[in-house]
């Protein structure tokens, strides 16, 4: 009964989404106030019904209703309750419903938080988001119904893929989708501005907090995914340039460029049409990411099902959204050219440089991700583009971005003096060069990429510090500084932490694969690992061999690691759970391979210096985003209207 209620709620949500899109868009074009007024209630009602549908799906999972195909394929009676809950988005159908739910949530948020905006603008934004809702809910109902029954019901489910039974996977998909779908708000604002012809500073100001919030969620989603890969895949890697990772990274790059160009458009009224194009790009790449990951085009854990009808639907939808918005852009943008005056050396020109390089980097990732698919589709052979390509292209491109990161915030709008900034940053440059030479030498081996990374990190930290002292000189205290300023500086500072982590872990990590019998010892990076054997233990839905390794550092401190080799009951799938000792300066990471003779195992030992700086950097970056989005001027905008 409950699945049928969910199905019915989804049908009603589709109808409401149709109302939410058609009437307000017509109303905005014709000036019909009654049609405009439909936008908010329709969006809120649509949200309620999608929530109801999602609640029904979750109920089916929690109650182990294996007569629902989706539950039977992705859950298991012994699965712990928290994973039964997350299994609701562990499948293709469930994750699409989550997409629709989050889209409805964002639309509802717009409808509540947009009281200061002109009515026709709100109606257009909600209408456009409604059109996207129509596409996704129709996709669910016609090709990927999560409520399909399976009769007769199997006695038990096939279990959630064990790779997804991990704390990192609890939050990764919702965070990622909050980011992906959040860009639909910016997209809708851009399309609404194109439709109305009002592409002004107010439009940029409305778009900014939404973009920043979406970007913040996307940052957290990507970081959680990377952390998951690190602890769950058992190779100690944290980024593989895998197409599914690239699928989430491309919207992030576009979103980062968009945040910067929106700042210019709001403050100086330039780059307008470029900003609109980036808004369209960011959301298009979010859709493309969904398409790549969910349609089975890519071979990975994410590709749940290969169904040509789904692929055709998403491809058609993608073509409609991207093609339609670009066509509108081509028709409307030339009529709205603003003044494009700014000095050759100014904050505007530096932000332009930021955008050019970020978009180039985005293009190179796009090429490396899509080229193998095109070749394959054209029957011209199977190739893969590996990590070396991305590293060779992406890393050098990031160097100018990071270099300018220290310079940009210290440079004035409209025009600044190049000699002034050179004088101001002279000392920073010297300190950075000294650190770049000293740190790798202190670490024991000089590596040019480590030197470059450390130098850039110090350079950025110095720039951030100068930014704060500038503000403090003008008499304000730290806490009185606007949150937008704090947000920007923290996000920039987080890049310094991130680069240090990336440079040092890439430069100085070490690994050994060893065969160990009980009592054997192995050395790695000054640590002595002693294998004490394994013990059998029973998990809720798996049984495992749990290893016991005692690790002794050079200074004599000792700790124990307990890596596991699990065998899941439902599918008989083996899984490696790494044993990790976290530390500010290094992680010690151990993964068990195979038992080649009784109590003799192949074991991988990893020494990962500074890797936790990466996760810290991501958290700091997200904090920066949250601060920037909650800046006083956006909150005042809300409060004014509430009291008025």
């Amino acid at each position: 009964m409950i699945p049928e209620i969910g199905h019915f709620a989804l049908i009603l949500a589709l109808l409401l989404a149709l109302v939410q899109s058609v009437l307000p868009l017509i109303g905005a074009q014709t000036g019909n106030a009654r049609f405009l007024a439909v936008a908010r209630p329709a969006a809120q009602a649509q949200f309620l019904f999608v929530v109801l549908a999602y609640a029904c799906l979750v109920t089916a999972f929690l109650q182990n209703d294996f007569s629902v195909r989706n539950v039977a394929l992705n859950s298991f009676s012994q699965l712990p309750a928290v994973y039964r809950f997350t299994a609701s988005w562990g499948s293709h159908e469930g994750s699409m419903l989550l997409w629709a739910l989050i889209l409805a949530f964002w639309t509802m948020a717009v409808s509540v938080l947009s009281r200061r905006l002109p009515e026709d603008m709100v109606a257009r934004v909600i209408g456009i988001m409604g059109l996207i809702s129509v596409g996704f809910i129709a996709f669910l109902l016609f090709t990927s119904n999560p409520f399909d029954r399976l009769l007769p019901a199997p006695p038990d489910g096939r279990d959630l893929n064990p790779l997804l039974q991990d704390p990192g996977m609890v939050l990764h998909p919702p965070m990622l989708y909050m980011g992906y779908v959040g860009f639909s708000v910016t997209f809708a604002f851009a399309i609404a501005a194109l439709l109305s012809g009002k592409l002004d500073a107010a439009w940029a100001r409305w778009s900014r907090p939404w973009t920043t919030v979406a970007w913040t969620f996307l940052t957290m989603g990507i970081a959680l995914g990377s952390w998951w890969a690190y602890i769950e895949l058992g190779w100690g890697g944290w980024w593989f340039w895998d197409p599914t990772e690239n699928a989430s990274f491309m919207p992030w790059l576009a979103g980062t460029a968009l945040i910067h160009s929106l700042a210019v458009t709001e403050k100086r009224g330039v780059f307008k049409s470029w900003t609109v194009l980036l808004a369209i790009t960011a959301f298009s790449l979010s859709l493309l990411g969904t398409f790549l990951v969910r349609s089975g085009v890519l071979s990975s854990v994410h590709a749940f099902a290969t169904d040509p009808a789904r692929g055709a639907f998403i491809l058609g939808f993608l073509a409609l959204v991207i093609g339609g918005s670009l066509l509108l852009y081509a028709l409307r943008a030339p009529t709205m050219l603003g003044s494009a005056r700014f000095a050759a050396y100014s904050r505007e020109s530096l932000l332009l440089a930021n955008n050019v390089v970020l978009v180039s980097a985005l293009g190179s990732v796009l090429l490396g991700t899509l080229y193998p698919l095109f070749l394959d589709a054209l029957g011209m052979g199977k190739i893969s583009v590996g990590a070396p390509y991305f590293n060779a292209v992406f890393v050098p491109l990031m160097v100018p971005v990071l270099f300018l990161m220290a310079v940009g915030p210290l440079t004035r709008w409209k025009g600044a003096s190049l000699p002034d900034i050179v004088v101001r940053l002279r000392l920073a440059f010297a300190v950075a060069v000294v650190a770049a030479v000293a740190v790798p030498l202190a670490a024991g081996e000089f590596k040019p990429w480590v030197a470059l990374g450390v130098g850039l990190a110090v350079w950025i930290v110095y720039g951030v510090a100068l930014g704060f002292t500038d503000r403090l000189k003008h008499g304000s205290n730290l806490l009185a500084l606007p949150r937008g300023f704090w947000g920007m500086q923290l996000a920039h500072l987080s890049m310094a932490f991130g680069i240090v982590g990336i440079a040092l872990v890439s430069g100085y990590e070490s690994q050994r694969n060893v065969k160990m019998a009980v009592g054997d010892t192995a050395q790695l990076a000054g640590y002595t690992f002693t294998f004490k054997g394994t013990e059998a233990y029973e998990g809720p839905n798996f049984h495992a061999a749990r290893g016991h390794l005692v690790v002794k550092s050079a200074s004599g401190s000792e700790f124990t690691l307990r890596p596991e080799k699990r065998l899941y009951n439902a599918g008989g799938m083996p899984m490696t759970e790494a044993g990790i000792n976290y530390g500010v300066l290094r992680d010690i990471y151990v993964a068990m391979g195979e038992e080649i003779e009784p109590q003799v195992w192949t074991i991988s030992l990893f020494y990962k210096p500074f890797i936790d700086w990466l996760w810290f950097a991501a958290a700091l970056m997200a904090l920066g985003g949250a601060l920037a989005a909650s800046d006083r001027r956006y909150r005042i905008a809300l409060k004014d209207k509430a009291t008025a």
Partner: protein
């Protein structure tokens, strides 16, 4: 500077940056594309001798052996028509098993032995690497046409 000159300068800078990017990309692309060959193609000598490539198929039943140190694996990858011996040093993925699909990346030696630097297997029980699947499909098709 006149505005027109500024504009030209800006465009020049952008074009220069893009030029560098394109150069970087093409350079990296040329040297980092990894092509895929099926065991049959490798047996026919179609695979390059001087650069890394991927092979894929099923791991032949009974072919996995471990050398003395326990860390070197020797196994055969087959597309049911031909099989190629592979040497790999390291830890294999959880789902690396005889009779299951796998993809190996590495170089072929003069003795016809493939030395893998990476071995990829499936992510879950029901999934086969598409490259491995297509290699087997091709071999089956070739066999079928031979029989006719």
């Amino acid at each position: 500077m006149k505005p027109r000159h500024k504009k030209l300068l800006a465009i020049g800078v952008v074009v220069a940056v893009l030029g560098i990017v394109v150069m970087l990309v093409l350079n990296a692309f040329r040297s980092n594309l990894v092509f895929f060959f099926s065991p049959t193609e490798v047996a026919e000598g179609k695979a390059p001798k001087d650069r890394a490539f991927r092979i894929g198929g099923l791991i032949e039943m009974g072919s996995i052996q471990r050398s003395g140190d326990g860390m070197t694996l020797i196994f055969k990858v087959t597309d049911t028509a031909h099989s190629i011996p592979v040497t790999y040093q390291g830890v294999v993925p959880d789902l690396f098993k005889e009779g299951k699909g796998a993809v190996a990346e590495g170089r072929i030696g003069t003795d016809g032995r493939f030395t893998a630097t990476t071995v990829l297997a499936k992510h879950d029980e029901n999934y086969m690497p598409p490259e491995a699947a297509s290699a087997i499909e091709q071999a089956q098709k070739a066999k079928a046409t031979l029989k006719e």
